[in-house]
Symmetry: C2
Subunit: 204 residues, 2 copies
């Protein structure tokens, strides 16, 4: 009983909420999901590896790829570009495999325009206060940048309505389990699978 | 972050598909779901306990409860009544707890009329052939009754379109895991929870 096409899952949410941490913990476990690595012009943080966490590009390189139409979506966020390479996503979905994106909110909204059948998951912090603590404690930002990020986060929370699911990142393990449940349940959605089951039974 | 009202989950599917087995395996594990015990006029099968598996009633008792409006739904199926007592379901949902029904297809369709916001899960056999084997091997039915059940099952499969999810009962553990995933993911549905998260963040 195979889905003809893979399902596109998009994990997004406010800056600082822990999208990357949840995504890494998810892929540390056994999963059939294929991760689509994003492209960015921001500087690597400590421990981040080019080609694993992101494809790190210069602004010039990034703008060339935009002009060639090689990105599904791209957005500028706090002064840096973020984008999703098109070819990997479309090829993998067509092979019947699920693709997982972890992207910023602006980018997710653009993916929704191109892939309305995607499953959009919004990761949210237990409270804005906790979000603030996490950003401050990251220690890589100036106070002005922190304020900018917090302002952006409040705006992003209003964007929740464009998503299918909301997962609170209270504990990483809880959040990962919820994302896994969403993936499993989406494969049971009647509108995705009914015609396959009906056909299998008619073939008896 | 508490849901104001519980969610009503309905597990249904063709006769003989193993609804009762999946439900029992689900409730053998840790779960926050509350099981609503159905009422029936059919004879108990070996090992079934009154008040645990079903409330077993005479036709006279059952028809009295119908006339008093004490059943959310009732249906006659292969010569027996099945029904869902109203009070337990409504009281438990209002307390913010999820309720789980395991009922026949006819009954599920009637519940959908009264609880369109419920989550309807259709359990399906890997093939109709396997369904037939299971019914024959149950050994409690005459050949005519088996034919009746198979005919009913084929009709019920066409009713899949009234459900939100389709779970194939290939292995009990797989089916239970999928039902648990559906329960978890439904609690993450944006339309159920968005207003709660927004309020929590505004209260900061």
């Amino acid at each position: 009983m195979i889905d003809e096409k893979g399902i596109l899952f998009i994990l997004s949410g406010p800056s600082g909420v822990g999208k990357g941490t949840v995504r890494k913990a998810l892929f540390d476990q056994s999963t059939d999901l294929r991760y689509s690595i994003s492209m960015t012009t921001r500087n690597p943080r400590e421990g981040e590896v080019d080609g694993t966490d992101y494809f790190f590009k210069s602004r010039e390189e990034f703008e060339k790829l935009i002009s060639e139409g090689q990105l599904i979506e791209h957005a500028e966020y706090v002064g840096n570009y973020y984008g999703t390479p098109r070819q990997y996503v479309e090829k993998t979905l067509n092979e019947g495999k699920d693709v997982f994106l972890e992207i910023e909110v602006q980018g997710a909204l653009k993916v929704r325009e191109n892939f309305p059948q995607g499953v959009f998951i919004f990761l949210i912090p237990p409270s804005l206060e906790e979000l603030k603590d996490r950003i401050v404690n990251r220690g890589t930002e100036t106070e002005d940048k922190v304020k900018n990020r917090l302002h952006a986060a409040k705006e992003e929370i209003d964007m929740m309505d464009a998503y299918d699911y909301v997962v609170v990142n209270d504990e990483i393990d809880n959040a990962v389990t919820k994302v896994q449940s969403i993936v499993a349940s989406e494969h049971c959605k009647r509108e995705r699978v009914a015609h396959q089951y009906k056909k299998a039974l008619e073939d008896e």
